[in-house]
Subunit: 214 residues, 2 copies
């Protein structure tokens, strides 16, 4: 980071929108894997402001983390949306696409994934846009679920419950790969991972495929 080599005479940060700059810097720090934990002072340093400046834009560290998590969630959702539009319009294809994109994102951004779903401290009620980002992520899955139910392809169980079942499986697999050393090591290589994702999807598909209710 050469400080004297500024591409443009970018105006002093003292003016630009520091809020977004802090979020971006946080995402970059997480991506660089620089340390497991992100801290306010490091983010501020990266942006080039004093370590107290963030307090003008975020009530505390948690608020900044929530904003970063939301941005991450949106990135994942965009990725899912982009992919799911390109696959054939049947439940299995959509489900598999959702699963693959989710797992791929988790593996590519383990630390971010952690932050996104370590929401013990995050009150979604206080962050309506965060909740909205979550709905946006599941929108394509919910849509294919309803379609398949109408076609008598899968169980008539409440779609919210079905979504949670699917999310549990995919999220659980992602979490174990990312968090658990044993699993992470035993599944070295994308081919082993792809195979497991396929097995999870097959289990979900056959487990949910019925004309009655679960």
């Amino acid at each position: 980071m050469p400080k004297s080599d500024q591409p443009k005479p970018k105006k002093q940060y003292h003016h630009g929108n520091l809020r977004q700059a802090l979020i971006d810097a946080g995402l970059e720090l997480i991506a660089e894997g620089h340390g497991a934990q992100i801290d306010l002072r490091k983010v501020a340093r990266k942006v080039g402001v004093s370590h107290t400046a963030p307090y003008r834009h975020f009530a505390d560290r948690n608020e900044l983390m929530a904003a970063i998590a939301e941005e991450g969630l949106r990135n994942l959702a965009d990725k899912v949306h982009r992919k799911i539009e390109t696959v054939p319009d049947d439940f299995l294809s959509k489900l598999e696409a959702f699963a693959r994109e989710y797992v791929e994102f988790a593996i590519a951004h383990p630390q971010l994934m952690r932050e996104m779903f370590s929401g013990i401290n995050t009150d979604y009620d206080a962050h309506p846009t965060l909740r909205q980002a979550l709905l946006y992520l599941f929108e394509p899955l919910v849509s294919t679920l309803k379609q398949s139910q109408a076609a008598d392809e899968i169980a008539k169980t409440e779609y919210v419950h079905l979504t949670l079942i699917i999310w549990s499986m995919i999220h659980g697999f992602s979490a174990l790969v990312v968090e658990n050393y044993v699993i992470r090591k035993s599944l070295q290589g994308t081919e082993a991972i792809d195979n497991m994702v396929h097995l999870c999807v097959q289990t979900l598909y056959h487990g949910l495929a019925r004309k009655d209710t679960l």
Copy 2:
């Protein structure tokens, strides 16, 4: 923890086995929910030693956390073992028992669960007993899996993979209930949770029930 051949039963902490005392204190602090994050100095304070004393027994904070996680894992495994022995000897009953105990433990000890499976920093190779505790947890499930495979009840897929599929679903559901505000709030009450666990188990059961391979 009965020590049959311990010469001196109880002395001041300055002599007793500080290692175990620190682990116990850590578990208590986590249980009390006193703050999300556990810290070394607080644990030492609770035991009544200086904040540098732990360094005689653990290389660093991570080592203490790993020891606490291991104890937690063993508690969960014991709970699972006790329960699973009391249910009928068929795959579905065993699977449901495993799932219920796992989820129940997660909800009862969210913070501990987090610590147990936030192993990004934990090198299982350096902690053989931790790995062993994990195998112990899955032993009853693996055993019923193999039995059911022999009886042509479920898919002939490698049992390690089947275990991971099941673990993913149950762990994922637990994680979402514990970590995600939206899910946590939407599943208030044990009856809603029980219902979801049942749906997850049904999906797994029907998804895995086949005579060939997945």
